[in-house]
Symmetry: C2
Subunit: 191 residues, 2 copies
């Protein structure tokens, strides 16, 4: 069978994401992760070469997914209407953040625990994603310097990624609407 392997790997990544989000990379042991998927301890080494490799694959996956999504959404439909592109980027990011709060948290917190080389790759993907946003924002605010646009984009990421902190008082739909409205308003005033 080939699929069990794939499933086991994904299972481990999911469980590890939840644990890392809750207690941090160094606060979770290999044994903990194994226990979370019903095997114990060193069985994980059949699927990953080590704890760092696990985190690395996780962060690369997230960054790659966001970048791909960003590249796809930023260039849809009317290239004229940067407004529509911005809305698409917002909706995409919000849906991801609401659907995978643990991944958002890990991506925000654990980048330093990944080995140097992979860290550079991850940062590159994150930069490419941010640049999609900056490109769209530059169309909306042609006179605004790039540095300011970058800072604004990161600020909006902070706003959108606040999801894990304020968990579950609002329905996901209401939360999505609120975040979209707030982010939209924040980005209109930066010129």
């Amino acid at each position: 069978m080939k699929s069990p392997t794939r499933n086991r790997r994904a299972e481990i990544l999911d469980a590890a994401a939840a644990l890392f989000a809750a207690r941090g990379f160094h606060g979770v042991s290999i044994e903990d992760i194994g226990a979370a998927v019903g095997v114990s301890g060193p069985a994980l080494y059949r699927h990953f070469s080590g704890k760092e490799a696990l985190l690395t694959e996780m962060l690369l996956g997230i960054s790659e997914r966001l970048r791909e999504q960003g590249a796809r959404l930023a260039t849809t439909a009317d290239p004229d209407t940067a407004e529509a592109a911005l809305d698409a980027l917002l909706a995409g990011h919000i849906e991801f953040a609401l659907r995978h709060p643990a991944l958002i948290r890990v991506q925000e917190r654990e980048l330093d625990n990944v080995p140097e080389q992979a860290r550079r790759a991850i940062r590159r993907l994150q930069r490419l994603y941010a640049e999609e946003w900056v490109a769209v924002l530059a169309e909306l605010h042609p006179d605004c310097p790039q540095a300011r646009l970058r800072a604004a984009a990161h600020a909006v990421f902070g706003l959108l990624n606040s999801t894990p902190h304020s968990a579950g008082e609002l329905s996901p739909e209401a939360m999505a609407g609120l975040l979209h409205t707030m982010a939209r308003a924040a980005l209109c005033r930066i010129g």
Copy 2:
């Protein structure tokens, strides 16, 4: 001498904050912290009862400081003009975040590593601080349900606390102005 003691404690707290912000609580050893202030290893036990106690005191200090600042700023001057109170809260939070990015980072990331009892105290202080914001927002948006206001407040915290991520491309003044403008705009549209 009494002041050397005080200074040493503060020195240790500062160094630990920087290290925790950079590598996370579990990623920093007692020896690391000692080395950062020029003493080595277990000397810290002359000033703190342990590693957790150090973190606890740090987080309690931050939360208490923000809560005090919030209580002071939210009730200044005209009780009529909620606008002014909101501006004061924004300015205060932004100044703190820009002046102490490491503390913001630690407060965001390390709450789970503090023992249960102290954690409750810290959360209580954070809740009180957030409620100052919600009270002001409620005056501006009388028809908006509390849950939505709370979520909006946390989202704005996320925006303002994005400072550590987008470090130093803009001058502190420009950054402060940008964050203030964006947060203001985001909070106008939530009704």
